[in-house]
Homo-oligomer: 247 residues x 2
Amino acid sequence: MNDSSKILKILKKAPLFENCDPERVALFATQSSIISVEKGQMLFVHEEPAKRFFLILDGWIKTFRETLDGGQVIVDILPAGEIFGETSLFEGEFYPYSAEAVESSRLISMPLSLLKTEIDQDPKMISAMLTNMARIRREQDRELEHLKIQNAPQRIGCFLLRLTKQEEEGQVKIQLPYDKSLVAARLGMQPETFSRALAKLKDATGLEISGSTILLQDIKQLIHYSCSACSSEFPCKDLTEKSGCNL
Amino acid sequence: MNDSSKILKILKKAPLFENCDPERVALFATQSSIISVEKGQMLFVHEEPAKRFFLILDGWIKTFRETLDGGQVIVDILPAGEIFGETSLFEGEFYPYSAEAVESSRLISMPLSLLKTEIDQDPKMISAMLTNMARIRREQDRELEHLKIQNAPQRIGCFLLRLTKQEEEGQVKIQLPYDKSLVAARLGMQPETFSRALAKLKDATGLEISGSTILLQDIKQLIHYSCSACSSEFPCKDLTEKSGCNL
DNA sequence: TCATGAAATTGACATTAGTCAAGGAAGAGT
DNA sequence: ACTCTTCCTTGACTAATGTCAATTTCATGA
């Protein structure tokens, strides 16, 4: 099986393409390529002219911006199944953030120009784009709420809860998907604050920490602790819907 | 001129409809009505089944949610020209927030059911919807960045800057559009913090405060103070593009 | 097994924001 | 002009988070 047909097979299952005309998806496949990136490698830089967008096959991609006084703000840490760079279409064809692999990752790289022309011609694709955009908007919305009203331990608790499977109950084992300092940055706090807040969470809910593995004695305790300062009970609605993650 | 033709005239200029088939816009006009709401009046409640969405003609609409432990989180304070409630389409037809008039306001009330059917039939409309969604996503993105890295005085400074016209230079007079305590809530801080942070901003940039009027001696000073902790120079890119505000 | 470096934790302290309570200003209506 | 009421400000204090520096832990490869 060559690269193009391999890509086609993957794209057909991706949320952005699944309902689209197969011939159009094939067009994407022929103009795309699978690329591998090392940990730390940049994919593109904020405000650079945008040529391509990406679908993550595996690994983790960090999107971020730098402030004028030299700070770094994480936009998101994206898992397999997510696309990124596609919003450049609405930003004058410049990337609205930088992107870097935080683990060795494999991606499908696709031309933005094609997305731009296809979006105007295939209502199915524009519809998928809108659905995806609505999903991200909802997540941003939740995140804004959390930054405004949850404290550091509660934000960590919420992050942990979102790593569990929905059907899990009672004792749950969680594996942090990447470095603690990266989780901290993702949640908008310092590594030191993360460390101390996690300890506070341990005292408050009885969870056990060993390295990057966290064992919840009872998930309900954590839900009670974190979700009380949130506008919806766990599981958050955005989790119960289909995400971009099932390739 | 009757209500329906008055509405039609307005809708034709609204971002969501301007490029759409005029016959379809007329369909909206016939099924819509202009409503007036008093200050404090609720338009809908979070998680209620969503029947209608709204276009603001004048006044200010607050969207917000309540947390389980009784707090209130402001989602946004929307000006004339904005639509709201339309995202219910992507939330299982429940409102994703509550909405209340913070000033006496006039609105066009439209049925969501119509939006739902039309969106599937008119690519122009779905395209407008996507453009609008992308705009809001960009604003949320900026807001997330600000919450993560700007302190209270900087966030206020940024809020003030966004109230100025882009071409203004040097001395600029700003009128706060609504109560200070509401601005505070909008920016995710307590009224006391707002009051003190504004005083700090005054010391740092030499602005003058008298009631709800703020006089900047030199807008550049404020830009330097606020935008240094931001990833883009003023004027923010989202301001230079067309917003939903020009009815 | 040891050496190395990165990540994580901890302590001490500074800064920032929140809380509670009291007092003052401003506007609406009599 | 006066009295509400509501909003705003200020003070005193507490709590949360950030900063800087010093260790400690841990994974990794020599």
